[in-house]
């Protein structure tokens, strides 16, 4: 405030001081625009239809209404989702070199008849018996193995993201980027990496690297690095300048200032971001398998397409438990490191 305006205010008695209204014309204009735009947009994206169908679904579930589209859809999944499928049943004929004397632990061989409809007699007849190897927790173990693959993909994706984000974050921080051009470039790269969804980049990487975990790792690493780079840069910029000045003014170079006056201050936030990105990558990696980028996603998509909802429930349960476990684990690690 200039000296003149201070003087004017001093001359003006307090009862005549101008007080600002809590809501300015800008706020009113924004609210008005939203009031006009949202109903229009809601019609375009079927919000009203969604609300109506949800209400019907709730009425169906509470017995007020007999049937609803939402209820039918939900029941078609829910009725087949339980019990969870834990066992794996494989035709013995499809297993090479099966040693019947030394079956896998807890496994048994069962015979199941194959029935065919006889047109002449009009009855179902047993035509042959097929042997199956039944492993009681075989499917669960397979899902766990696939989930471990998924977690590993997510972990390597996060490591790759960190490796890209550290230099990217440094160059994206004002006052730290060695050149102005580099600052603009680094910010641009961050935005670009964030803008490409993992599923799309995974499809490209599958074209380049073939099916398997590598496209998944690359897709996750590149997308997450956009977020991490931006978060890192913002945190570096918001670090208290005092300790940095204190080191600069005794002749410490930029790298030393970063190491001692910036990193210790931003470390808790960095760890929080990494924890979030890892969790997010685990969740996303489960979906990436759909396009062939490794992990549990492929199994999930296959089972869903076959309407094997019992298997789907097992997969979803394992995914949920893994994410929960990972969250607890990373929280503990973070607490220890802070």
């Amino acid at each position: 405030m200039s000296a003149r305006s201070i003087k004017e205010e001093k001359e003006c008695p307090p009862e005549k001081w101008r007080l600002r209204h809590p809501y300015g014309w800008k706020t009113v204009a924004i609210l008005l625009l939203l009031t006009l735009f949202l109903p229009f947009s809601a019609r375009r994206v079927d919000v009203y239809k969604g609300l109506r169908m949800s209400a019907e679904g709730v009425a169906d579930a509470s017995g007020i209404r007999e049937d609803s589209s939402v209820g039918r859809g939900w029941r078609s999944f829910f009725d087949a989702a339980f019990p969870l499928v834990l066992a794996e049943k494989t035709a013995v004929a499809r297993i090479e070199n099966l040693n019947r004397e030394r079956l896998p632990r807890f496994s048994t061989i069962v015979k199941e008849p194959i029935r065919e409809y006889d047109l002449a007699s009009g009855e179902w007849k047993v035509t042959e018996e097929v042997e199956y190897l039944v492993e009681p927790f075989g499917y669960l173990l397979r899902v766990i193995r696939l989930m471990l693959d998924t977690v590993e993909i997510a972990l390597w994706g996060t490591i790759l993201a960190l490796l890209i984000a550290l230099p990217l974050g440094y160059c994206s921080a004002k006052d730290y980027a060695p050149y102005g051009v580099l600052y603009g470039l680094a910010r641009g790269v961050c935005s670009l990496h964030r803008a490409i969804p993992e599923l799309i980049s995974a499809m490209f990487f599958v074209l380049m690297f073939g099916f398997g975990p590598v496209p998944g790792i690359l897709a996750l690493g590149i997308h997450s690095s956009g977020f991490l780079g931006k978060f890192f840069a913002d945190d570096i910029e918001n670090t208290p300048p005092g300790p940095q000045d204190a080191l600069r003014c005794i002749g410490a170079n930029q790298l030393k200032v970063i190491r001692f006056a910036v990193l210790p201050q931003v470390m808790p936030q960095y760890l929080a971001y990494l924890q979030y990105i890892l969790e997010r990558n685990v969740r996303t990696a489960t979906v990436l398998g759909i396009v062939g980028a490794g992990g549990i996603g492929m199994e999930l998509k296959g089972r869903w397409d076959l309407s094997d909802f019992g298997h789907v429930s097992t997969i979803l349960l394992v995914v949920f438990l893994t994410v929960l476990l990972l969250e607890k684990l990373t929280q503990r690690v973070r607490k220890k490191m802070m």
Binding site: D175, P240, P241, G242, P243, Q244, D245, A246, L247, R248, C249, I250, G251, A252, N253, L255, K256, R259, F260, A261, P264, Q265, M267, P268
Partner: protein, 270 residues
């Protein structure tokens, strides 16, 4: 050891922070810089380590003119103590002290946090000299009181035996009792190591008591430069541009300084 030759500094077109300041500070002298707010005390200090570059005049440090080119050579020989301590809150107290040696350590070693054992022992000695104990070594800086944090800052400034220590209002955030302790510590450290101290202060009574020499600035010019004994009521009235109650002003400032304030960037890096 430190010489200002007709040093001037302008911010923008009209604001004169320093106006043809000439000073010589010999090794081992404790020189207090007093004056009202905006008189140019902080600017004077910041021109020495290049946080602010003077507009006119020359500053010589051990006969070396301070320029952007010579800063790299000069800065490691100057320690600095700040009003808001400027410690790294999340680092241990020992690490904070050791950061005083960063300019003398390779970037590789410092990144790996590999400070030589002798240096760590020396940090412990200085740590004890400033009245801190072993139990404080691995505490976080943020866990210490304001007075203790300023002691850590003094230890950091004196770690590498600097030729000069700049103290920018080192007691402005502390209560009167702690302020006296800190200034006594600073004076003792200066005498023990024969280090010159250039210390800006708001409290005239403290400047009178602890400084070997008092330089008063008024509107960027030197209004007084002598021993503390010559600071009479008339001289102080001339410095502060007010006829009465200079002492009250000093007391008021001390009280105001106890109100916690958010850290403020005093000067931007060159």
């Amino acid at each position: 050891m430190l010489e200002f030759r007709e040093v001037g500094k302008r911010y923008g077109v009209s604001e004169v922070a320093l106006d043809r300041v000439s000073l010589k500070i010999p090794r081992g002298q404790f020189c207090a810089v007093i004056g009202p707010s905006g008189a140019g005390k902080s600017t004077l200090l910041h021109t020495v380590n290049g946080m602010v570059m003077p507009s006119t005049g020359t500053i010589l440090f051990s006969s070396i003119p301070i320029t952007r080119k010579t800063l790299k050579q000069i800065r490691p020989r100057i320690g600095m103590i700040h009003q808001q301590f400027n410690l790294v809150d999340r680092l241990s107290v020992l690490s904070n002290v050791l950061t005083g040696a960063l300019p003398h350590l390779s970037t590789f070693r410092s990144w790996l946090n590999l400070f030589p054992l002798e240096l760590q022992r020396k940090a412990c000695d200085i740590f004890a000299d400033v009245g801190l104990e072993e139990k404080h070594l691995y505490r976080r800086a943020s866990d210490l009181s304001g007075g203790q944090q300023q002691r850590v800052a003094i230890a950091r400034a004196f770690l590498m035996n600097p030729d000069l220590v700049l103290a920018d209002e080192p007691v402005a955030s502390l209560d009167p009792k702690i302020s006296e302790d800190i200034l006594r510590l600073l004076r003792d450290a200066s005498r023990r190591t024969n280090t010159a101290v250039l210390c800006s202060l708001h409290q005239v009574n403290l400047a009178k008591e602890y400084a070997d020499r008092v330089v008063a600035l008024h509107k960027g010019r030197i209004a007084y430069d002598d021993g503390a004994g010559g600071l009479t009521e008339d001289v102080l009235a001339e410095i502060y541009g007010h006829s009465s109650s200079v002492r009250d002003r000093a007391v008021h400032r001390t009280k105001m300084s106890q109100i916690p304030m958010s850290p403020k960037r005093e000067a931007s890096a060159p």
